[in-house]
């Protein structure tokens, strides 16, 4: 579903991604781990077609980036640590706006479904600026799944959320994964992603330093795997 070969990204003289290779199969939930400054967000922004690669090949759902960016974007749902929502619009108006941008069919029905999914049906007519950070993040997930994308990209979605909000977010993430979506999520919270992801990749110094499936690691071994990958690199 996602295929990346020899990806290089430079900002001026600084090379952030140095020939990165990365593959994700359909329906996989990949947790992309790594220290601050490893290039996780840059990598996700390139996959989301928000940033152009300096070199390398990227294909998502069979479409090449950046040449077929619009076709890729139609198949992507993106959630970052910022909600990408308008505070002066209601929850429903935000979803209606993004639904029109994505040409979503039967929009009224779909908005109701998504608001139910993220547990905000009762607040559909409230302005987003009156929402807590956790509620905004749940609505952000609703925005990202509204057009029923095949691939979901999450960039540290738990940032700034309290425990209850994180638990609620995890519930939504599990639901997204259970519906067969291909998911790539960056995170610093190893304990949390351990229960969610089916595969763990460690990004360090611009390349994938290590990769392991949850099955091969067993339970409670992600932290040890992560530390070992960074040490070896």
């Amino acid at each position: 579903m996602i295929e990346v070969r020899k990806l290089v990204k430079r900002f001026g003289l600084k090379t952030v991604l140095c020939g990165l290779d990365f593959q994700v199969q359909e329906g996989e939930f990949v947790a992309l781990l790594g220290p601050n400054g490893a290039g996780k967000t840059t990598f996700l922004r390139i996959l989301a077609s928000l940033s152009r690669p300096s070199l390398g090949e990227i294909r998502i759902a069979g479409y090449a980036l950046p040449a077929q960016a619009a076709a890729v974007r139609r198949r992507l749902g993106v959630v970052s640590h910022m909600p990408l929502l308008y505070g002066d619009l209601t929850a429903e108006e935000n979803l209606r706006f993004f639904g029109r941008m994505y040409d979503v069919e039967h929009l009224d029905q779909r908005i109701s479904e998504v608001l139910e999914l993220v547990g905000l049906a009762a607040r559909r007519r409230d302005l987003v600026r009156t929402f807590s950070r956790g509620m905004q993040q749940r609505l952000a997930i609703g925005r990202a799944v509204l057009h029923d994308p095949e691939v979901m990209l999450f960039d540290e979605p738990h940032t700034g959320l309290d425990q209850d909000a994180c638990d609620m977010l995890d519930k939504v993430l599990r639901d997204v994964a259970a519906r067969g979506r291909t998911v790539v999520m960056t995170s610093h919270d190893l304990a949390r992603v351990e229960d969610l992801a089916s595969r763990f990749d460690v990004l360090s110094r611009g390349v994938i330093a290590a990769s392991a499936s949850r099955q091969s690691l067993g339970k409670n071994n992600v932290l040890a795997f992560y530390r070992q990958a960074l040490q070896e690199k």
């Binding site: 940033s51 619009a70 992507l76 910022m82 990408l84 619009l89 994505y102 029923d148 067969g180």
Partner: protein, 244 residues
């Protein structure tokens, strides 16, 4: 997953083009609607533009201390300086809203041609300009005791505003990516809008002095050409301006 939906569906070229155009127009409409709906609630942008425009008019009124004869000759200049300054505030705020909440990324993630974002933002900016102009004109008429209800003048204001917003929306999209956006936009914008301001002031002044339209066609043509050129330029380069 979702095997019932083919990834690629084949349409005839004409049908594909028609469907792309419909999607494009829908996206333009959605962005303009979103801006207007949000502004209707917050009134942040319009109120700041209006207060600023009225203050500029008041300051000119007291600073120039004009007699009736001189007043008629400076009206067009005062009006266009007011529109240009107030418009800069609106353009800056309109793009800053997108950047501050990260919503610009949300727009860029949509599967539409990115020029749809430009046209949507330009339409809402133009609507805000027109609202401010519609309020400023009668206020100016009262303060300066001048009759501004002239169809020719209104036509020039429409044409001038289109040119101003066409280039202003493009430059605001560039400036918003920088830390010094509030300062940068006027520095980038004012040199580029000099032709539109000169043409608009000359044509407006001519209409207010009762000259025939045929005598002002040079300036009106310049406004039309400016509008067409800058809308076309923005359409072609907007994708590169907003991309990282």
């Amino acid at each position: 997953m979702k095997s019932e939906k083919p990834l690629i569906t084949h349409h005839s070229p004409l049908a594909t083009r028609h469907s792309s155009l419909v999607s494009f127009l829908r996206a333009v409409g959605a962005i303009a609607w979103k801006d207007l709906a949000a502004e209707l609630r917050s009134r942040e942008l319009l109120s700041s533009m209006l207060v600023f425009a009225l203050l500029v008019i008041l300051i000119f009124n007291f600073a120039l201390e004009l007699d009736v004869k001189t007043r008629s000759t400076v009206t067009a200049g005062v009006l266009w300086v007011t529109f240009a300054f107030a418009g800069t505030l609106g353009l800056n705020r309109s793009m800053a809203v997108e950047k501050d909440c990260g919503c610009l990324d949300g727009l860029l993630l949509a599967p539409v041609d990115r020029s749809a974002i430009y046209f949507g933002k330009a339409i809402s900016n133009l609507a805000f300009m027109f609202i401010v102009e519609a309020i400023v004109l009668p206020v100016y008429s009262v303060l300066y005791n001048a009759n501004l209800f002239n169809l020719g003048l209104i036509g020039v204001i429409l044409l001038g505003s289109v040119g101003y917003v066409a280039v202003g929306t493009l430059l605001a999209s560039m400036a918003v990516q920088t830390r010094t956006r509030d300062v940068l936009l006027p520095i980038l914008l004012f040199p580029v809008i000099i032709p539109v301001v000169i043409a608009a002031v000359k044509a407006s002044s001519g209409f207010l002095q009762g000259l025939a339209t045929s005598e002002l066609m040079t300036w009106i043509n310049l406004l039309i050409v400016y509008d067409v050129v800058f809308v076309a330029v923005a359409f072609m380069v907007f994708d590169y301006v907003v991309e990282e």
